[in-house]
Amino acid sequence: MAMLSALLPAPRNSRAGPWYLVLACLVVVVAVVSWSAPLFLTPGNLSNVAAQITPLVITAIGQTLVIITGGLDLSVGSLISLTTAIIVLDLPGWAMVLLAIAAAVTVGTVNGVGIAYLNVHPIIMTLASMSVVQGVALITRPVPGGTVPGWISGAVNESLFGLPAALVWIAVAIILAAFLIYRTRFGLHLFAIGGNPNSALMNGVRVRRNIVLTYILSSLFAMGAGFFLAGRIASGDANVGTVFGLDSITAVALGGTSLSGGVGSLVGTVLGSVLVGVIGNGMNLMNVSAFLQIVIKGALLLAVVSVQRRKQIGL
């Protein structure tokens, strides 16, 4: 419990944003879903939900780091796809892992250098790299298929002490990110950069280097999500990650993280991802058409960003 409270931001910390709103939403949605679909609260379904949301939670955590600095990473979706495509390549385990890491670090570095050093807007830079990475993923794996190594499927589908492995993945991602954001100088600098990059620079924060680092981290988290997803769908698929680009932004925005930077929290992002997952699962249980779900998801996104009024008009 003490550890949990150490990971949570202080309640009145304005830097965390209104994450309690998403908590309230989550309580209401869980109540509604479990009342109208009794299947929801069964252990089988809950572990299903956990496995469904894991890639989203991991991606959204990486996205949070970027958004806190005032950036945006649209390339995470295609990087997830590329990771699943690399995993099913016919390579020895260590080479495959190294290649996946190298791909993620390259994409993150290119994004970060373009944005921080070459003055390109984050949306344009990550949109461009999204396109390139998608192309590379399609070349690596033109059609879905291939075999995922046993150890990855095992790490995704086995259970540990009676808990689904998905929860372990989520826990590791949360602890890693919580340490980075709340227990290191780097984490503090993220908020400083997002709040005001100029005054951060004046106060000795290495703004550019830290921005590059956040994009690398965002790519690495997306790579982790790709590993989990590959184990779950048991194949490589160059289009499987597409939805995560936007879903991760939705989850982060739901969690009260300001898209103009400087304000945000890890707990908000995790709760936001869970909310997106529970709404999806609930609508599935209630037999809502998959296409109607897309509409509802979009409307939810609009509602969330409309609540967060910003100071400036624009991107």
Binding site: L72, H121, I124, A128, G135, F291, G298, L301, L302, L315
Partner: protein, 327 residues
């Protein structure tokens, strides 16, 4: 202009002249260089394609995109972005191919999507300028909703065919020039004249070069942003009609591609978020350059993934050149 150049070269020596030339070169939107490079490549590699007839056929395919880009460039100059263009194309395609408007005259077929585009633009503009929500998220969200509505209404199956009257217009030519290209050029000239002559155009330049100063001078920023988004919605709908008429059938697949290409061509044409620079000609050339580049790649059997890579690289390089310039 030539006179001043000459004078400065006499005063400052060759070195100065080279630097002035370099500065002038970097002022030219990257689109012109890409277009020149592609034309040279076509001439060298496959001279058979260097006929106006053939080139115009390639360009015709990009006329719908070109019309949509006219909206995107205004939105981006006002420091916003329109990612809902793909969604507008998709819902336009559905309206025209689902038989909802079956048997109506051509005027109705064209006007109905325009009304939808207008509404989409108003919603985008209101959420961005009045509620002050993030433009990226709003327009992406709207695009998702439009796509979802079409998928829901059509149960995921592409609907039917385009009415014959529209198809005939898309395939018509006046002399060698295809009608869609004429519509595109006319629309581009109208937008260019509007931006040059109306106060709205000057407002856009002012916001682009210095939003703070623009606000302190009392420019109606929200109204301008809403206007650009409404225009973008309308132009996207017109582009959608042209695209659907040329395609001939219903489809739900092309949305993201159109959205990406519209941003790519705009950036290639020298317009970035609020640079205060960039006219209509740059993005116009950007669309033509992309059309010929993709045609060239198709001729050489380069598939979709290769095109994605080239497209992303071109966007990034163009944006980096601009980023270094505005530093």
């Amino acid at each position: 202009m030539a006179h001043t150049l000459e004078a400065s070269s006499n005063a400052g020596g060759a070195n100065h002249w080279v630097r002035a030339l370099g500065r002038r070169l970097i002022e030219i939107p990257p689109a012109y260089f890409v277009l020149a490079a592609v034309l040279i490549a076509i001439a060298l590699l496959n001279p058979n394609l260097m006929k106006p007839q053939v080139l115009l056929t390639f360009i015709r395919q990009s006329a719908p995109l070109g019309v949509a880009v006219l909206g995107q460039l205004m939105v981006m100059r006002a420091r916003s972005i329109d990612l809902s263009i793909g969604g507008v194309f998709i819902i336009t395609n559905y309206l025209l191919t689902s038989g909802l408007l079956g048997g109506q005259p051509v005027a109705v077929l064209v006007l109905a999507p325009l009304v939808v585009g207008l509404v989409v633009g108003l919603v985008n503009g209101a959420l961005i300028a009045l509620v002050r929500a993030s433009a990226v998220i709003v327009t992406l969200g709207v695009s998702i909703i439009l796509t979802g509505i079409v998928l829901f209404m059509s149960s995921g199956r592409p609907p039917g065919r385009v009415p014959d009257e529209l198809r005939a217009i898309a395939n018509a030519r006046i002399d060698v020039v295809p009608v869609p290209v004429i519509i595109w050029v006319v629309a581009a000239v109208i937008v260019a004249v509007l931006l040059k002559t109306l106060i709205f155009g000057r407002y856009l330049t002012a916001i682009g070069s210095n939003p703070q100063a623009a606000r302190f001078s009392g420019l109606p920023l929200p109204r301008i942003v809403v206007t650009t988004h409404v225009l973008s919605g309308l132009l996207a709908a017109l582009g959608g009609v042209m695209f659907t008429a040329a395609l001939g059938v219903g489809s739900v697949k092309f949305g993201p591609e159109i959205m990406m290409n519209s941003i790519a061509a705009t950036i290639l044409g020298g317009v970035t978020f609020g640079s205060g620079r960039g006219g209509v000609a740059g993005p116009f050339v950007g669309v033509v350059a992309f059309a010929l580049l993709f045609a060239l790649m198709t001729v050489f059997g380069i598939q979709e993934p290769g095109k994605l890579i080239v497209q992303g690289t071109v966007i990034a390089v163009a944006a980096i050149i601009y980023g270094m310039r505005t530093r």
